[in-house]
Symmetry: C2
Subunit: 146 residues, 2 copies
DNA sequence: TTCGCTGCAAACGGTTTGCACCGCG
DNA sequence: CGCGGTGCAAACCGTTTGCAGCGAA
């Protein structure tokens, strides 16, 4: 199943009594085209030529977060980045290499299954989860440090 | 196995050629006594009566993060909080209820096992992971929303 | 005695807010 | 036409930085 696109996004907004505006479409497009989560300043740079005002950008991100179109993830040790959620992007987790810093998306349903059985045990009903695994990727294990 | 305490922390600092100072001990104690991850402003409030300077606090957190005594986790939609890592705290993940907002610590080794087998498949060597599961806790499932 | 750590105070810059205008529905 | 969304500009405040003095080792 492919992920939902611009058309579905527009409809989603209408369904939630939020207006479909050029600014919102611009932001949505930028996030869809990015391979990785974007911070607000990242986004600002990305959509720079559209002349989108910073204040507006913050308000759009806030709205999209409330509507659960995007959600925040931790990027560096102090910075928050945003990425699309289902159905606008496939869910995945992240493998982050401590040496080369590359992030690999991890699509694996075993994790979901384990998670489901754990939370079933506790009567907790899952909306979504996010996970980040830090370690050393195969390439960097082969390469001596520095 | 209990977690390492103040004495081990002091030794850890010495081993890393970092000095054992009253400020650092104060911060360590505050984090150890807290049930949940703390933001820097949280910490500032917590250790207020020690007269610790904000700038110093930020520098201590930075140092402890580099030494991997603590690490950042996402708190709200925009705020980063810090928590102790092993061996100063047991590793655990978080269940966050979207209605009451409470965070429950999750200690479960099934997750570790699944994670290990997934990363073994990819030749990725794990240092640590962090996960946050969002959903509805048993209490809130029983209670109608709002 | 040395150099890492700290307090102070100023600077910085990302984020928020108030307000008037615009334009989607 | 009404109200949600936007741009602008100022205010805010969490965080960073430079520097001089202190104190852990």
């Amino acid at each position: 199943m492919p992920t939902a696109g611009e058309k579905e996004f527009a409809q989603f907004l209408r369904d939630h009594r939020a207006r479909v505006t050029p600014n919102r479409l611009t932001v949505f497009r930028a996030m869809q085209q990015s391979a990785r989560p974007l911070t607000v300043p990242d986004l600002a740079a990305q959509v720079e030529d559209s002349g989108l005002n910073p204040a507006t950008l913050y308000r759009i991100i806030e709205t999209l977060t409330e509507l659960e179109v995007v959600h925040p993830v931790l990027q560096d040790h102090q910075n928050v980045a945003y990425e699309l959620l289902e159905p606008f992007a496939r869910h995945h987790d992240h493998l982050v290499c401590r040496q080369c810093g590359r992030t690999v998306d991890l699509y694996d349903c075993r994790l979901e299954e384990t998670l489901k059985s754990i939370s079933d045990d506790r009567g907790f009903k899952i909306d979504f989860h996010q996970m980040e695994v830090h370690g050393l990727c195969p390439d960097c294990q082969a390469t001596p440090r520095r």
